[in-house]
Symmetry: C2
């Protein structure tokens, strides 16, 4: 009887220890909690993994207001200071230029093209290789769709109109614009509207209707241009590779599935909000002209883009390999987009 | 001691019974196992839920070769003969016309628009209401993207060219075409290529490059038209509502997350394969002309579509409510698609 009791107790202990094997994970977010979709995304992830794992995973989400390091998420997850991150890889291009290729590329793929490339055209394998060197496992975390080209106070017709223009624009887009003679300016976010109103700047590029509206740019800049610089901005979940590799298989599946649910949420919500907010802007400001840069300007931007990308390719064979993989898929992927969605929408337009 | 033993044993029993609470689910699939993406989808679902639930859910996938009822999946899941289904709702339009609105609508939304509407524009709530009456809980299961307008042996320039034309086309698209004087034909799948070659039919509509290629239509019909009839064909997972409602919360989350992963897989893989196969077709058959119907034909098709949809709306207030919800979102959603992806792709085209 004693044997049975001992046996029984040890079985109980084994069972409950296995049931209690909990992962308390800390996630560092790049976007503040109140940013539409992107601020909500890590909270959704937390809810999903906690529910699906029935509490075996617990996630604490820290926003920049807490960790004070919005653009150091990569390092914090790499080092293990945080277990997870929610961010966009192009913020780390100063550290490793090729990482930005997994976010979006000027004149690059649209969302559906990029997802097809990433998942079935070799992108995921390249990403795995690149991020393993940073001790990271990554999962796509939600695309915000095409970013608009910006709000301009005056109509831009020729390349001459761009020369000397004071434009607030960050990242690769800004670098490319400066090659065309634009004065790139990086005024702090809080001062953007005032700077535009007071003509300290002539134009500002932010994101797309859903995120632009709260700044009020539409009140003072009447030309809103279609984008070219970030056709499909992808966000990503980072997870410390050492930690992830050791997790049980069911929890790995749960984490990956949760990132997919969040990805869909971000893209679908962004698409919806961009449509709703664009409609509101147009109704409240019927004087706004939504337009595109001229073929002359687009050609010049494309040329400047290729110069920069080719320089970066020359410096890093892996950058080159990823870029070539994207270009090779995009060539055929774009043909399909053109004869399917684009032609359909053009043909059914009244 | 005896008390302790009894207690211990009952705890073991409780723990193991809870651990052993298994759901052995049967899934009926509409598409045969070897159909690209759509045949694979239920297998992926099975793998995902089994892994994430650590075996608490087991799924047996039955294909049409087994259950012999590809287009009776709705009834089989409704009645509980099967627990789950993988199918497309427009196959059941004879039973309940409004169900097809959740698959795709001629001249309706593109994939990104439809997903935005479904998830954030009120679609999901309408779907829930409609399918609850069929004792079903549904989850989107993967969009195959735009379906092409078909392979035609002769160029179609005017409405007159359509009159008397023998076209193999099923569903609402066929009904609409017949309003324009087309002879709609529903030759069995196995005889399609021969019928086209022997001029028993003049044209055939199937799906899109990824699924069309294996029939060999490209060898005998040289005009491939952009579609209008199914701009975003969505597939769905059905689950018996009585069963689903009683499942524990973690398993409900796991099932829903798995459907999202599968959804992404289908759309991304279809996008990728359509691009790859289109490229192959163009290379192997450089004489093929990929083109669009004229504005005159598109207008006539649109008019015939509206007539049919309005008739159906008049018969069923819920049909009307769903259609109006879609039209209302599409009006603003399309504006965003046009100034974002479509304008970007047009502007960056060389």
């Amino acid at each position: 009887m004693k044997l049975l009791t001992t046996l029984a107790i040890s079985v109980i202990l084994a069972l409950s220890s296995s049931a209690a094997e909990k992962y308390k994970l800390k996630l560092a977010a790049t976007y503040e909690s109140n940013v539409p979709a992107l601020g909500e995304a890590p909270k959704k992830f937390k809810e999903l993994v906690e529910k699906m794992s029935n509490g075996r995973i617990e996630v604490r989400v820290d926003y920049p207001s807490k960790h004070k390091a919005a653009f150091a998420v990569l390092d914090m997850v790499k080092s293990g200071q945080y277990d997870l991150g929610y961010t966009a890889s192009y913020f780390y291009k100063g550290k490793d230029a090729k990482l930005m290729l997994f976010t979006t590329v000027p004149f690059g793929m649209s969302v559906s093209e990029q997802h097809a490339w990433y998942n079935y055209g070799g992108g995921k394998e390249l990403s795995k290789k690149v991020f393993a060197e940073h001790n990271l496992v990554t999962f796509l975390g939600g695309n915000f769709g095409m970013q608009m080209g910006g709000w301009f106070k005056k109509e831009i017709k020729t390349i001459d109109d761009l020369k000397g223009l004071k434009l607030r624009m960050t990242g690769l887009g800004g670098e490319i614009m400066s090659k065309l003679g634009v004065n790139i300016n990086t005024i702090p976010i809080g001062e953007l509207y005032m700077a535009l109103e007071m003509n300290t700047i002539d134009a500002v590029e932010w994101v797309s209707p859903a995120l632009d509206i709260s700044f009020g740019f539409q009140k003072v800049a009447k030309y809103y241009y279609t984008g070219w610089q970030e056709p499909a901005s992808e966000n990503e979940f980072y997870i410390n590779k050492k930690l992830f590799d050791k997790m049980p298989e069911d929890l790995k599946y749960i984490i990956e599935a949760a990132t997919k649910v969040v990805s869909d949420y971000v893209y679908e919500y962004a698409t919806y909000q961009n449509a709703v907010v664009l409609d509101r802007i147009k109704k409240e400001h019927p004087d706004i002209k939504i337009t595109s840069f001229s073929p002359e300007i687009m050609d010049a931007l494309k040329k400047a883009t290729d110069e920069i990308l080719n320089e970066l390719s020359a410096k890093d064979p892996m950058f080159k390999e990823i870029l070539e993989s994207q270009r090779s898929y995009m060539k055929i992927g774009r043909e399909w987009t053109k004869i399917s969605d684009c032609a359909y929408i053009k043909n059914s337009d009244k």
